[in-house]
Symmetry: C4
Subunit: 209 residues, 4 copies
C-alpha cells in the first residue's frame, strides 16, 4: 500500500471555510454574551437603569474592538482562502491553529473588559492579535512555499497580503506599547487602526496600508 495518510487527509478548502465561518460566527456572538444585563434588584427607576447601562460602556467599547478584530481577520482569512488552489494536511493544521486563536478572542475580550486599566489584560489581548497575525502569515508563507496557491494572481496577492499583515502588526505593536502611558491610549489607537483597515479611507497615504 503506497497511499499515506498525509495524501488523503485535509484536502477540502470548503470544509475549512465552513468550520471557520462557524467559529467566527460563534466568537462574534459570544463577545456580546459577556455584556451582562444589569441585575433587577437595585434598579427602581428609568434613571437607575440608565446609570446601570452607562456602567456597561467599557464592555461596549471592548465589544466594538473585538468585533472589528474578528471582522478584519475573517476578511483576511477569507481573502487568503480565495487564493489557495488546494490544501494539504499541514495547511489544515495551521488553519486550525488560527481558529484556536479566534476561539480565544471572547476570553481575551472579557479579560480586557473586566480589567480595562490593567496593562497585563491589554498585553494578553494584544498577544491574541499577534497570534492571529502570525498564523495568517504562516499559512500564506507555507502555501507559497508548498505550491498550494492558485496559478493566476496567487503569488502577487500573497506578497500583498503578507506585507499588509506586517504593517498591521507593527501598528498593533505600537498601540500595545502605548500602554506604558495608559491602556486607554492603547485601546483608542488600536480601534483607530482597525477602523482604518475596515473603512479603508481614501486618504492616499493611509489607503496604501
Amino acid at each position: 500500500m503506497t497511499l499515506s495518510y498525509n495524501q488523503v487527509a485535509g484536502r477540502r478548502l470548503d470544509r475549512i471555510a465552513a468550520l471557520s465561518d462557524g467559529v467566527f460566527a460563534i466568537a462574534m456572538t459570544l463577545i456580546v454574551f459577556e455584556i451582562r444585563v444589569p441585575d433587577v434588584g437595585p434598579i427602581h427607576s428609568e434613571q437607575d437603569l440608565w446609570n446601570a447601562l452607562l456602567g456597561l460602556s467599557p464592555r461596549l467599547v471592548t465589544y466594538l474592538l473585538s468585533f472589528l478584530t474578528l471582522g478584519i481577520f475573517w476578511n483576511g482569512q477569507q481573502t487568503q482562502l480565495n487564493y489557495f488552489a488546494k490544501a494539504d494536511r499541514d495547511l489544515t493544521w495551521i488553519q486550525l491553529g488560527f481558529l484556536a486563536a479566534v476561539a480565544l478572542m471572547p476570553f481575551s475580550t472579557s479579560l480586557l473588559a473586566e480589567f480595562i486599566s490593567f496593562r497585563l489584560a491589554l498585553l494578553a489581548y494584544w498577544a491574541n492579535i499577534v497570534l492571529l497575525g502570525l498564523l495568517l502569515y504562516a499559512a500564506l508563507a507555507y502555501a507559497s512555499r508548498g505550491g498550494l496557491l492558485s496559478e493566476d494572481a496567487g503569488s502577487a496577492a500573497s506578497a500583498l497580503i503578507r506585507r499588509r499583515i506586517v504593517v498591521a502588526q507593527a501598528l498593533y505593536a505600537f498601540g500595545a506599547l502605548l500602554c506604558v502611558v495608559s491602556t486607554y491610549w492603547s485601546i483608542a489607537f488600536i480601534v483607530l487602526v482597525q477602523l482604518n483597515f475596515a473603512i479603508a479611507p481614501r486618504i492616499p497615504v493611509l489607503s496604501r496600508l
Copy 2:
C-alpha cells in the same frame, strides 16, 4: 505591483451568507437560553412548577418578539443577497456591521425581558431594530450605487425592498412611540407589525407593505 488589497478582499458572497447563517442561528438559539429553568429549591408540587413557568411568560413573549425580528431580518438579508451579483470590501463591512447588530439582539432581548415595563429597555430594543434596518438599507443603497446588483431584476427588487424597509421602520418607530402610553402597547404593536410581515396576510391594504 498594481494589485491593491481592496481588489482582492471581500469578494465572496457565499462566505458572507455562511457567516450570516451562523450568526443568525446562534442569536436565534441564545435568545431562548435567556429563559432560565426555575430553581428546584422552592418548588415542591406541580402547582408550584406551573406558577414558576407562568412567571416566565414575559420571557416567552420577548422570545417570540425576537425570533420574529431575527426571522424578518434573516429573510430580508437573504432576499437582498440574492440580488447582489458580487461583493466588494465596503459591502462586506456593511454586512459585518449588520451582523454585529444581529449579535446584539440576545442582549437587547434579555434587557427587555428583565425590564419589560421600563421605557429605556424598550427604546434600546427599538434602537437595535433601527440599526438592523439602517444597515440593510445602507447595503442596498451602496450596492445600487456601486453597480454590485445583478443585471436582471436587481434594480427593481432593490427599490422594492428599500421602500419596504422604510415602511417597516416607520411602523416600528410608531410602535416605539407608544411607550409613552405603556411599553406593553409598544410590544403588542410591534409583534402585530411583525406577524403581518411574517404571515403576509392577503388583506389587500396590508399585503402591499
Copy 3:
C-alpha cells in the same frame, strides 16, 4: 412596478438548510452544556467524584433523549428539503417556526432534567415534540398544495413522510399519557420509540413505522 415582495423573498432552499444546520448544531451542543461539572468544594476523593457523576445520570438520560429527538427531526427536515423543488415566503416562515421549536429544545430538556418526576415538565417536553411534528407536517402539506415539491418522487415521498409523522406523534402521545403512571415510564417509552426510528430495526412490523 409589478414585482411584489412575496415574489422576491425567501426562495433559496440552501440558505434554509444552512440556517437549520446551524440551529440544530447549537441546540445539540447546548443540551450538553446543561450537564454541569460538579462543584470542586465537597469532593475530596475518587469516590466522591464517582458519586457526584452518578448524580448527573438523569441529565445524561435527558441528553440522550434530546439528542435522539433532535437527530430524528434533523433527519426528517433534511429528507423533506430534498423533495422540495423550491421555497416561497410562507414555506420559509413555516421552516423558521420549526427552527424556533428546535431552539426551545435545550430549555425543555433542562426543565425535564431538573424536574424529572414532575408531569408538567414531561408534558412541556412532549408539547415541544408535538410542535416539531406539527410544523414538519405543515411544511409538507403546504408544499404539496402549493406545487413546491419536485416533480419525480415528490408526492409519493410526501405522503410517506406525512404518514410517518402521524404514526410517530401517536406513539409520542401514548408515551406522554404514560405519565399518569410515572414520568419515568413516559421517558422510557419515548426513548424506545426514538431508538426504533433511529436504528430502524429489521423486525418487519416495526420497520414499517
Copy 4:
C-alpha cells in the same frame, strides 16, 4: 406504494458535513468558554492579575488538549467523508452518534480541568476519545460493507484510515493507563501523541503512524 422511508432518508453527505462543521465549531469555542475570567474583587495589582492568570494554566492545558482532540477528529471525519460516495440512513445515525460524542467534549474537558489530579476525570475524558474513535471506525466499516465508498481510492483509503484509528486508540489507551502513575503523565503522553498526529513529523518511524 413501494417507496420505504429508509430509501428516502439521510442521503445528503453535504448536510452531514455542514451539521458536523457546526457542532465542531461550537465545541471548539465552548471549550474556551470554560476558561473563566478571574473575579475582579480580590485583584488590586498587575501582580494579583498575573497570579490569577497563572492559576488558569491547567485550563489552558486542557484547552490545548481538547482543541487537538477536536482538530484530529474533525480532520478524521472530513477525510472519511471525502471517500464516501453516498450516505444512507444508518450511516447518518452513526455520524449523529459521532457528533453526540463531539458535543460531550466540552463537558469532559471541563471535568478534567476541574479535577485534573483525579483518575476518574481522566478516564472519563479518555472514554470520550474512545467513543469518538469507535464511531469513526464504525462509520468506515459500515460504509465499506454497505458499498457506500467511492469507487476509486475508497477501499484503500478506508483500510489506511481504519489502521490509523487502531494505532491511535492503542496509544491513547496506553496514555490512559499511565494514570496509575499520575494523571499528569497521562495528559502529557496524550498531548504528545496528538501533536505527533497533528504535526506529522518526518521521523520515519513516527510518520508511519
